[in-house]
């Protein structure tokens, strides 16, 4: 069972375990040095107060707080969501004269957020609709191509490799790049988003499905052949029942990825909630950005949860 102890160079190497660790650490240090030096990031910048302060500032402003740092802010901030509220002279003084930065709790935060969500529910639903359409077309189109990319069904090497290479090429282009390209060609809107998600889903589904098809039990296929079924019938009765559960699971998984991707496609002009996200970010309305981020989190998490549960039952 065990290989006999080897007194040659292998054993010597085994005794120098510390060398392995040393080489590993050295390699990691070199990789770090190479990356950070060409990116011009000094080690101190990761730990500097400014970085943390800026990040903290963002988190606070994504939540129910307003940043007050100029005299003008100080005079208006207390009333900007609530006309009855009056500026607090002590705080105005702290900002105007002492140059302090203050964070002010936004009055009626929750109600205003709910109102805002109500306002944006259409682009939110659009995001969902884009994801579903893209996933649907992608899955549908993947079926014939996955059969052509399965070695056990296609005898022609030319067809097999052509389809394979095409699928690989499609998958090397990220969905965001497809969306940007198509938005450039078709104009901003949901259409380039749906097509981009469709292409992306197609590539992923076809790849996953063709691999399932390649691992089917060849027996039923042989039996279908033996009873005089034609090629379509052989696939419908010998292949489809064997891969159907996996196909549904993959399609759902890809939909899950599509929902996640669709939330940011708007950044490049391809419709959905991302467009709004981009606008709010440009105008620095961080509270609204925060609301969108929370909704995205909830949507993606819910989609994740549902699809995992359903997929568990399918396979």
């Amino acid at each position: 069972m065990m290989t006999p102890p080897d007194s040659g160079p292998k054993e010597k190497l085994a005794r120098m375990g510390w060398l392995k660790s040393a080489v590993t650490i050295l390699a990691l240090v070199l990789v770090y040095a190479w990356c950070s030096s060409s990116l011009r990031i000094a080690p101190g910048q990761f730990t500097s107060g400014d970085t943390w302060k800026a990040m903290g500032d963002l988190v606070i402003r994504l939540g129910p707080f307003h940043r007050v740092q100029t005299c003008k802010d100080a005079n208006t901030a207390w009333g900007d969501d609530d006309p009855i509220a009056k500026p607090d002279p002590a705080k105005v003084k702290a900002v105007c004269e002492d140059g302090k930065v203050l964070y002010v709790y936004v009055p009626h935060y929750l109600t205003s957020q709910v109102e805002y969500l109500n306002e944006i529910k259409d682009p939110l639903l659009d995001t969902f609709r884009m994801a579903i359409l893209g996933a649907f077309f992608g899955a549908l189109l993947a079926v014939p191509f996955s059969l052509l990319a399965a070695r056990n069904l296609v005898r022609s090497k030319i067809v097999y490799w052509t389809v394979r290479i095409m699928l690989n090429l499609i998958r090397t282009v990220p969905d965001l790049v497809w969306a940007a390209l198509l938005a450039g060609a078709l104009g901003a809107g949901a259409l380039p988003g749906v097509i981009a998600l469709g292409i992306f889903s197609f590539g992923l589904n076809a790849k996953l499905l063709s691999e399932s098809v390649e691992t089917i039990d060849p027996g039923p296929l042989e039996a279908m052949q033996a009873c005089g079924a034609n090629r379509f019938q052989q696939i419908r009765y010998g292949v489809v029942p064997q891969v159907l559960p996996q196909f549904l699971a993959y399609a759902l998984y890809v939909l899950e990825i599509d929902v996640r991707a669709s939330t940011i496609l708007g950044l490049v002009g391809a419709g959905g909630i991302g467009v709004l996200f981009n606008t709010e970010l440009t105008y620095m309305r961080y509270r609204n950005v925060g609301a969108i981020v929370v909704v995205m989190l909830v949507i993606v998490w819910a989609m994740d949860f549902i699809s995992t549960k359903v997929r568990e039952r399918l396979i």
Binding site: G219, A226, C227, G228, Q233, R236, Y237, P241
Partner: protein, 260 residues
């Protein structure tokens, strides 16, 4: 009805699986082909429905040369040739009924079958076939919920559903236990008698060959080395076919004792 004329099969790697096989088969015969594994039994019966393409020779079926058939003709010919396999080759996730109905594919239009629109007659036929192999109650069970013997019966029902003239069975009992093996072969024999279906069975158990065959064909290294009525066959004949002494594992009964 079936005539092999100098049928040969050489695989692309140069293996000669069949060398010049000549054979004439009459309607309704129950033929058991024996031989060690690699002797060419499987290749021989697969030449009949061209799951293996012969590389030379002619195979006349009712006067027509099977080796020259076009794709459409071949499919039509295959509908007349039922086949059962060692590993049953059922679609495990599908129901028994779906599996049996698959036997009707060759008789059903592409569109109808893709949509799963089976005719009433086909469904009735499938039920009758299941009754004939003794498991009518399993209609809606999933195929993989059945025991090995039951699965092999489903695959017999699937072949029967084709209303075949010929039945090919490639090691049908190799993955079954002895009592089940006997009942599966009894079913095949009964169907052969009742429907006059010419039946080819590949076996390597000599006791079962002697018990069920009308005619035994012995194969060794791609050649037919024996062909005669089962009653003429003795243990010595088998030793000649196998080219060695008979061992316990060559019989169904002995194989079990070996395994235990």
């Amino acid at each position: 009805m079936l005539q092999f004329k100098n049928i040969a099969k050489t695989f692309p790697d140069g293996t000669k699986a069949l060398k010049n096989v000549n054979l004439t088969v009459n309607e309704g015969e129950f033929i058991v082909i024996v031989g060690l594994s690699g002797a060419g039994k499987s290749t021989l019966i697969r030449c009949i429905n061209r799951l293996v393409e012969p590389t030379a020779g002619q195979l006349l079926a009712f006067g027509q040369d099977v080796t020259k058939m076009s794709d459409a003709e071949l499919r039509r010919w295959r509908t007349q040739v039922g086949m059962i396999f060692q590993s049953f080759n059922l679609v495990k996730r599908s129901s028994v009924l779906q599996n049996v109905l698959a036997g009707r594919l060759g008789h059903t239009g592409t569109m109808r079958s893709l949509l799963g629109m089976w005719s009433h007659d086909d469904i009735e036929l499938a039920k009758r076939c299941l009754e004939r192999v003794g498991i009518p109650e399993k209609l809606y069970n999933r195929a993989d919920a059945l025991s090995g013997g039951q699965q092999q019966r489903v695959s017999i029902a699937r072949a029967l559903c084709q209303k075949p003239k010929i039945m090919l069975a490639d090691e049908p009992v190799a993955s079954l236990d002895p009592p089940t093996s006997h009942s599966v072969l009894r079913d095949l024999k009964r169907i052969n008698r009742e429907d006059k279906i010419t039946t080819f069975v590949n076996l390597h158990f000599i006791d079962m060959a002697q018990e069920y065959a009308d005619r035994i064909i012995g194969m060794r290294a791609g050649d037919i080395v024996f062909d005669g009525p089962a009653k003429d066959v003795t243990e010595q004949t088998f030793e000649e076919i196998y080219g060695r002494k008979i061992r316990p594992e060559d019989t169904r009964a002995g194989a079990v004792r070996e395994g235990a």
